[in-house]
Amino acid sequence: MRLEIKDLRVHYGKIEAIKGISVIVNQGEIVTLIGANGAGKTTTLKTISGLRKVSSGAILFDGQDISKVPAHERVDLGISQAPEGRGIFPGMTVLENLEMGKFNRKDRKSEMKEDLERVYHLFPRLKERTSQAGGTLSGGEQQMLAIGRALMARPKVLLLDEPSMGLAPMMIANIFKIITTINTELGTTILLVEQNAQQALQRAHRAYVLETGKVVKEAKASDLLNDPVVRAAYLGTGAAGH
């Protein structure tokens, strides 16, 4: 598995949100995109998963350009996303939400059971709540469900969009711990978008700093943690790059 984004440009109407981003995610890595609000992190993820159209540039997945492949087919290729704001189906139960994650491979019963077990093993809390409606879960549980649902499709690369958003500090620590577990135990490659740069940089192998639609810095995550300029950048003061 290798995901490579080459000089990606994305527009919202006439406004260019992504101004030529290049990102590489290698097999087995946790790569994080950090940056302030409006830097283009979420747009980048949405473009990789197919919800936004590419204006120019390419998204190479195992060497193949997938920028014209519709979103629902990218899941089958092995790209799953836990969307921003969690995107739980509020009227479906936890189990139904998880089953949706495997929509295109629903017919294989034994596989379904196996995948459910794997998710429940990662998130025992979800098992306790299988028949509860997604809309009644707490924020942290919904995030677990969103990640678990994305894992149901057995992705090669997992896209996580701000998993810490709106969660209590305890739950944030918990979620990030599980992200590492998914990476090490299941061997799933992860592309993580975060505003909580502190946590993200501690968990990731490599990181890209985004600012108003451009990559301003790319380095090993541990190096960035101690970089004073980057600290200023992710706090949103905008000192970096000027």
Binding site: H72, S80, P90, F103
Partner: protein, 342 residues
Amino acid sequence: MINIRDKGAEVWDTWNRPKRVAFVLISIFVAGLLPFAANWGPTSFLNTPITSFQNVLVYPVGMFILMALGLNIVVGKSGLLDLGYVAFFAIGAYSQAILSTKFGMNTWEVLPIGIAIAMFSGVLLGLPALRLRGDYLAIITLGFGEIVRIIALNSKETGGPNGVAGIPNPPAVFGFKFDLMHPEHYFWLVLGMILLVVWMIRRFTVRRPGRAWEAIRQDEDVAALMGVNTLVYKLWSFVIGAAVGGAAGVLYASKVMVISPDMFKFDVSVLILACVVFGGIGNIWGVILGAGILAYLPDRIRFISDARQLIFGLVLIIMMNMRPDGLLPRKKREKISEKSSK
């Protein structure tokens, strides 16, 4: 406020199979007796003052229930606001009118063709329109409804503003005569269609299409992220809705024998949508009840003539204020589990 729908579902869940079958058969039997309700002392208040009760049961009541069920697949199940649903009804009706008067086909022969034409026009409209969402989709469908009516109004084949007259009734089958003298037979025919549609919707709902529609309705983007081909499933719900509307149109034209473009105005689309919302969007039993009441009421209160529409509107406003989710709302899982987790 108590939720009769959830109560009903609770009771239903406790029943075993023979009990359920018995309940369904008895319900169908009772529904089949409806045409005679107005003749019986205690329920004679049901009688409609101007048109005979049995005819009112066929049109508007039966037809509106049928159409509301069809529209409910589109609006209620997959959450697509269709404001031009009358177009499919018109297409079905004109199929029956033209094929029977010009080509001598009978209703049973026309029915599958009318449904197919309605479905095809559903694809034609759906393919471009379903790429849009929400308000934009509503506007396009509204336009489509008007286009169909205006074509009917202006082309020679459809008889222009005069429409088509002399549409034959369906030929008799198994001793059932579908003519002016036997409105109850006609009602049973429509009842059969309604049951067929209910059965079909229930089959769909528990299978993949139902899941996909549910996901699309709750969050279309996330549905796509799950691997749901949203355009295809939206198109399916649109086309199935169109098929039901087309079938209703064919039966309608064969019943009233004369059709003209002014029977397929925008207000019919709105009224069908009102039936769906009033009864309980997304829930077939609610939709049936809502359509039944909204179609029946104007005829029942026809004796107050001028004030009729006013009263009708007032009832709608009051009801929607009291029960914004409709008479029998769809299952509210969010709320149930809140209760149980306390």
